[in-house]
Symmetry: C2
Subunit: 173 residues, 2 copies
């Protein structure tokens, strides 16, 4: 079995990508115990060119990867958008996260918002607040995380943890 | 005046981004004379993960930039898509091109398909074949470029050239 999937070894970088704000959160997994070891927001403004904004997001995610050495990356995979233009912007920001991960040959796992809500809050129609509350409880944090961008990033990392746990349980059976 | 905008110094990398096929073409500008100095296609398949595909596109564009040292990058900016999902894929591929350019601090110019058709073929409703014919004539190439992905990449580079030429004419007035 690949050591990468041993719970003792997992460090998951969760990313909630957005052109204006990209949230990120890192969880370290020791057996069944989880610790939040880093989080933050990458912000860009419309004063920068589109290329500069995307370059900044990719560059900062690369820095985060260098600093925390995650073993895998989990990205929120939004499938819904108001219109074509906003869908393109979502795709662009997501690409910045995926390219940064690919630069370090890290596996990337994508999860739809509904799967994240189900995994973290127990039901697919959970509100953003309910998801955030569950993230706070599971990771025993609250003060550090005020923005939904960051709690959503932790939520997708937790979803990957739940998934990896399931894979592991199946291997053990 | 910034030397970068002197026609003698311009090397333009044109990119027609796509997740399955990204076309690229490089033109070297000496005064009013243009030479195609390189072109190709970056292909990815659905057998690779999305992250691997985007990482490959970004990586190959970085290699092209290292080899040809373009002074600027011109990217086709599609605004229309069949649906949200294809819009996201377009955005992702475009981001790979823009992030590679940002990694080298190269200026990126975006042009809508209609502007490219107007600049290259003289009218916004030109067909792909007409645009390709004009690209062949202006760059005195034909054998080397068989795919629309490549001729479209040259077309966006030529559009940037026409634009830069105009800027220069305005500076000289």
């Amino acid at each position: 079995m690949d050591n990468k999937f041993s719970p003792a070894e997992i460090i998951i970088l969760g990313i909630d990508p957005g052109l204006a704000v990209t949230g990120w959160g890192i969880i370290h997994v020791h057996g069944q115990s989880l610790t939040a070891i880093g989080s933050g927001q990458i912000k860009t403004t419309t004063k920068e060119t589109r290329s500069a904004r995307l370059g900044k997001i990719a560059l900062q995610i690369r820095s985060i990867i260098k600093e925390y050495s995650p073993t895998e990356v989990a990205v929120e995979q939004q499938f819904v958008a108001k219109n074509v233009r906003s869908a393109m912007a979502i795709g662009e920001a997501r690409a910045a996260a995926m390219i940064a991960a690919a630069d370090f040959s890290l596996p990337v796992y994508e999860f739809a918002p509904k799967s994240i809500k189900e995994a973290v809050a127990g039901f697919g129609n959970a509100t953003k607040e309910q998801v955030q509350q569950m993230v706070f409880m599971q990771l025993e944090i609250s003060e550090a995380v005020k923005s939904f961008d960051v709690s959503d990033a932790f939520a997708v990392a937790l979803t990957r943890f739940a998934d990896a746990n399931l894979e592991l349980a199946m291997v053990r059976e």
